[in-house]
């Protein structure tokens, strides 16, 4: 029988733990090649990079294992090698401080890495996820955010129920309905998607109907084409028009699917409670809707998102309220969930109020996190992404650019972790002289995860006239409230080995 060669390629990096295990199984030596294919930052779109490290938040905040931050720093060094040294580094949070320290040290240890690239980035902003624990818990209300919340976007792909995507052929009775879920790729290469992805969902309908009219009109042109030249021109544009039409059909179907959910009573009730908490109403009592959901045995993660949201908006729950929720959850879902509840407390998401003070109202008011007069169709503020709530993390980025963090010193002290500024020397001649009207470029690195709604909010800031800054986003993982809480839940099945 032919000899087989075994090789092992670790992606994104080799793990000594794996090799240890293989060694214990007695097979480590059988591998001819044992290597790693290093993936640090993976580009997801023109302005988005992710490490896709699911366990980064849990490791950093629950287990105090900062290995993923080491790799984040390495990723940033790679980025600087390609796009030039970043002259200014701002940060908030313990992990941010650690990453900055590592970056500075790595630069010092390898002075040969001083390069002659003209810097693309003016600023790097490092943010700990635990500076803003609130945002991922709330339900996202942008088009892309809702797709992720409901169906889950994996590596820019989404799997959708196939019924609405069956091609309608004339005369057929709709037999042979597809059973495989419909898989679509979602990124800015698709014109229509780029236009609607970051809009509040309530503003998507009008864009789609406008597009429908434009495309219909374009197809109607065929009746007006009289000369050979005109016909030829029409035909040459046909592929583009067909692509546009198919894109429109897909997104109309997706929008319908989402609308079924967003118009449901349960979605409305859930959102109402979320918004009550975020605007500071009744965060100190046991909430009836949450109790009802537990009583009706709604999915546990939904319950956890709500109680954690209440806890964060109250700077921790009163002991009585916390004990009440815990008891109800354990009695309804099982006592083994003590372990998960313990994790959530450790992460700061669901904990007793220790200082007796609730800082959230001050933070909310100073940073204007709750905006009553939100305009979903033509937004003028980032709060449109949650129909009223401005993501705390993005507000911090916004205020850093203008007027600077000195104006919010007091509030910054209420948020966990140090805030700092570092400067990195640029060789003379590479110092950037900005042209009049040219925007600064800021790289915002979320350590612990970022949501699509936050990305939309940053893109909104980028395209604001006189905004002054364009943003590129990097993160350890693209998350939503459900995947995030799930990563903190204790695995309840016994290990496979």
């Amino acid at each position: 029988s032919p000899q087989r060669d075994f090789h092992i390629l670790f992606v994104p990096r080799r793990s000594l733990l794996c090799e240890q295990w293989l060694k214990e199984q007695g097979v480590l030596g059988s591998f001819i090649h044992r290597e790693q294919y290093s993936l640090d930052l993976i580009p997801f779109d023109g302005d988005l990079l992710s490490m896709e490290s699911e366990s980064a938040f849990k490791e950093c905040y629950l287990e105090s294992d900062q290995t993923s931050l080491y790799h984040a720093a390495k990723g940033l060094m790679t980025l600087q090698a390609l796009y030039g040294t970043i002259p200014q580094i701002f940060g908030k949070g313990d992990c941010a401080r650690h990453v900055a320290n590592m970056m500075i040290r790595m630069k010092r240890e390898f002075p040969g890495s001083q390069n002659s690239i003209f810097p693309v980035f003016d600023t790097l902003l490092l943010l700990d996820r635990n500076v803003d624990l609130l945002t991922p818990l709330a339900t996202q209300l942008t088009y892309e955010g809702l797709i992720d919340e409901i169906y889950g976007i994996q590596n820019t792909y989404v799997k959708l129920p196939p019924e609405k995507f069956a091609p309608k052929k004339q005369g057929e009775g709709g037999k042979d309905l597809p059973t495989e879920p419909k898989k679509l790729q979602l990124n800015s290469a698709e014109e229509l998607y780029a236009e609607i992805r970051d809009k509040n969902f309530n503003a998507v309908g009008s864009v789609l109907s406008k597009k429908a009219k434009i495309i219909s009109a374009a197809f109607e042109e065929r009746h007006h084409a009289k000369t050979v030249g005109e016909i030829k021109q029409f035909v040459s544009q046909l592929p583009h028009m067909q692509a546009a039409r198919s894109s429109l059909a897909n997104h109309t179907s997706i929008a319908e699917l989402i609308k079924d959910i967003t118009t449901s009573e349960d979605f409305f009730d859930n959102l109402t409670v979320e918004q009550e908490f975020m605007s500071g109403i009744d965060t100190d009592k046991v909430n009836n809707y949450i109790e009802d959901c537990i009583a009706q045995k709604h999915p546990l993660i939904k319950i956890l998102r709500l109680v954690c949201l209440q806890s964060v908006c109250n700077s921790g729950l009163k002991q009585k309220v916390l004990d009440h929720y815990k008891r109800e959850i354990l009695q309804t879902y099982g006592y083994e969930h003590i372990l998960t509840l313990n994790n959530l407390e450790k992460a700061g998401l669901l904990k007793p109020q220790t200082s007796g003070r609730n800082n959230y109202p001050t933070i909310r008011k100073t940073l204007r996190l709750w905006m009553d007069d939100v305009n979903e169709q033509n937004p003028n503020d980032i709060s449109y992404v949650y129909s009223g709530y401005a993501p705390l993390s993005v507000r911090l980025a916004q205020l850093l650019a203008r007027p600077g963090w000195r104006s919010i010193e007091e509030v910054l002290k209420m948020l966990p972790g140090p805030h700092f500024e570092e400067r990195q020397q640029l060789p003379t001649g590479l110092q950037k002289k900005r042209q009049h009207g040219e925007n600064r470029v800021t790289l915002v690195f979320f350590l612990g995860g970022v949501t699509y709604a936050e990305i939309a909010a940053l893109r909104f800031l980028s395209q604001m006239e006189d905004g002054g800054t364009e943003y590129i986003i990097a993160t350890t993982k693209l998350i939503n409230g459900t995947t995030w809480i799930k990563s903190l839940m204790e695995k309840l099945e016994p290990a496979p080995f």
Partner: protein, 491 residues
């Protein structure tokens, strides 16, 4: 691998980096060490019969071959040198034994390679390989790279090598002092992989008490070890460590977690019993106690009910055969089961709902809701009524629901309660709008009619006539109300 594979050479050369490492960071090493190393590497080549492992690495580790070495030499001499390399140039010239060429790469050559890059590869790794590499043309490269011969890498260098994925034997760090320096270097390097590797070594070669004592003052390493022990499931070691650190609550929770790995119910029960005395927080202690008690009861109930089912005598079990065992189910699920199959049992029986309510202090709200759902499923409307009826001290009965009658209606409707039953409770919904909505939705005509009459809304009442059957009692009722001259209609 003694033969040169020409095509392989081509492949490796045509790809990205010319960067390679031979001996890394030799910057500070003395001539003597360099000589020693060169000699050692030669010895390896001569002694080596081992063909198996040809390693290639993405970060540009060289593949050994003569032609390759020569090519490297040639390229090395033409690439530009950074200023700081020139000092090493001097050092190299004193090497008489082996002809060699100072070689380095500049970042510009790095970026030449970069253009062919289709993905992010370890540029950062490549960046760390700066400095002059001294090397001798060899027949073959590998061993010097991968085997830690009689080397005397300092802890810092060892850590550096490990960070770049090179295999390093740590055995030569024998003294406690050396081991601790190695650990501290690993921690300072931040690479979790390396820290874990060093910890594995220390765990193997140090007495437990010493390891624990040293880790107590090294927080980062401690966290890594705990994480490692969790991942590998080394429960006993982990618990010993946590006990040493006096992290009692964590000990308790870690131990409790183990129950998930016990499939056999009896064993699990025993295990949970053992958990009760552990140092949990006060709140958690009561939950663990409840967990044990619940499982204990479930085992008894399950045994009895299985027996009943087999005997075939119970009509209830015949009509509604059990779909699953009650073991390991949450408390509320168990209560539902008990309300379903054992509703009328005396409080003394473990399987009775009232016993469960008392033992686990289930609040009224939850109890009523669960019992309601169970009795509704069995279409036992009398029981439903009794649940919602309270007698006050005068003997008058009153309907009360701790959960809101609209919820009661929902549950009943879900179980296809007949309209007459539903109507009773729709009538009791306090909020008028909700009452109307539900009544209309579920066709509780009497309630709609009565409500419109109470609201004195003539228009709506008249409109509703269209929704009832012609000639029905409801139509008559509407007509008689509409013709009632005593009512002061608002419209």
């Amino acid at each position: 691998m003694s033969r040169v594979r020409a095509d392989e050479e081509e492949y490796w050369h045509s790809s990205k980096f010319r960067a390679f490492t031979f001996d890394d960071e030799d910057d500070e090493l003395s001539q003597l060490k360099e000589s020693k190393r060169a000699v050692n590497s030669l010895r390896d080549i001569v002694d080596d019969d081992d063909d198996d492992l040809e390693r290639v690495s993405w970060s540009g580790e060289p593949v050994g071959s003569i032609s390759w070495s020569i090519k490297e030499t040639a390229s090395g001499s033409t690439s530009s040198l950074d200023g700081r390399d020139s000092s090493l140039q001097k050092g190299s010239s004193s090497y008489a034994a082996l002809p060699k060429q100072a070689s380095s790469y500049s970042l510009s050559s790095l970026f030449k390679g970069r253009n062919k890059l289709s993905s992010f590869q370890s540029l950062s790794d490549a960046l760390t390989d700066t400095g002059v590499k001294n090397y001798a043309p060899e027949l073959r490269r590998p061993k010097a790279e991968y085997k830690d011969y009689s080397g005397d890498w300092s802890p810092k260098d060892t850590v550096r090598r490990m960070q770049r994925g090179k295999v390093c034997s740590l055995e030569r760090f024998r003294s406690l002092q050396d081991k601790l320096v190695l650990l501290d270097e690993a921690v300072a390097g931040h690479d979790g992989n390396v820290i874990t590797a060093v910890l594995i070594f220390l765990k193997r070669t140090l007495r437990r008490e010493i390891l624990f004592r040293e880790l107590e003052v090294r927080q980062v390493a401690l966290c890594h070890l705990i994480h490692f022990l969790r991942e590998t499931g080394e429960q006993k070691f982990l618990l010993d460590l946590l006990r040493f650190l006096d992290r009692t609550e964590e000990v308790a929770l870690s131990q409790y977690r183990e129950h998930l790995n016990i499939q056999d119910v009896e064993k699990r029960r025993e295990f949970l019993k053992g958990c009760i005395g552990l140092p949990f927080s006060a709140e958690d202690t009561s939950h663990i106690q409840d967990h044990y008690t619940l499982l204990e009861r479930q085992i008894i109930i399950e045994a009895n009910d299985r027996h009943l089912e087999m005997a075939g005598q119970s009509e209830l079990f015949r009509k509604y055969p059990r779909k699953a065992s009650i073991l390991n189910m949450p408390l509320v699920t168990t209560l539902f089961y008990s309300c379903f199959y054992h509703y009328t049992e005396a409080e003394g029986m473990f399987s009775s709902p009232t016993n469960l309510k008392k033992t686990f202090k289930i609040p009224d709200k939850q109890y009523v809701l669960t019992a309601l759902a169970a009795r509704a499923k069995l279409r036992a409307w009398g029981d439903v009524d009794a649940l919602l009826t309270t007698k006050n001290w005068l003997g008058y009965t009153k309907k009360k629901a701790p959960i809101g009658f609209h919820r009661v209606v929902e549950i009943l409707q879900r179980n296809n309660a007949p309209v007459q039953v539903l109507q009773e409770y729709v009538r009791l919904v306090e909020d008028v709008e909700t009452r109307l909505n539900l009544a209309t939705k579920y066709k509780c005509h009497d309630v709609v009619i009565e409500t419109y009459r109470d609201l004195k809304d003539r228009i709506q009442l008249t409109a509703y006539k269209g929704k009832v059957e012609r000639g029905s009692a409801e139509e008559e009722k509407i007509n008689s109300i509409l013709s009632n001259t005593q009512i002061r209609w608002k419209n």
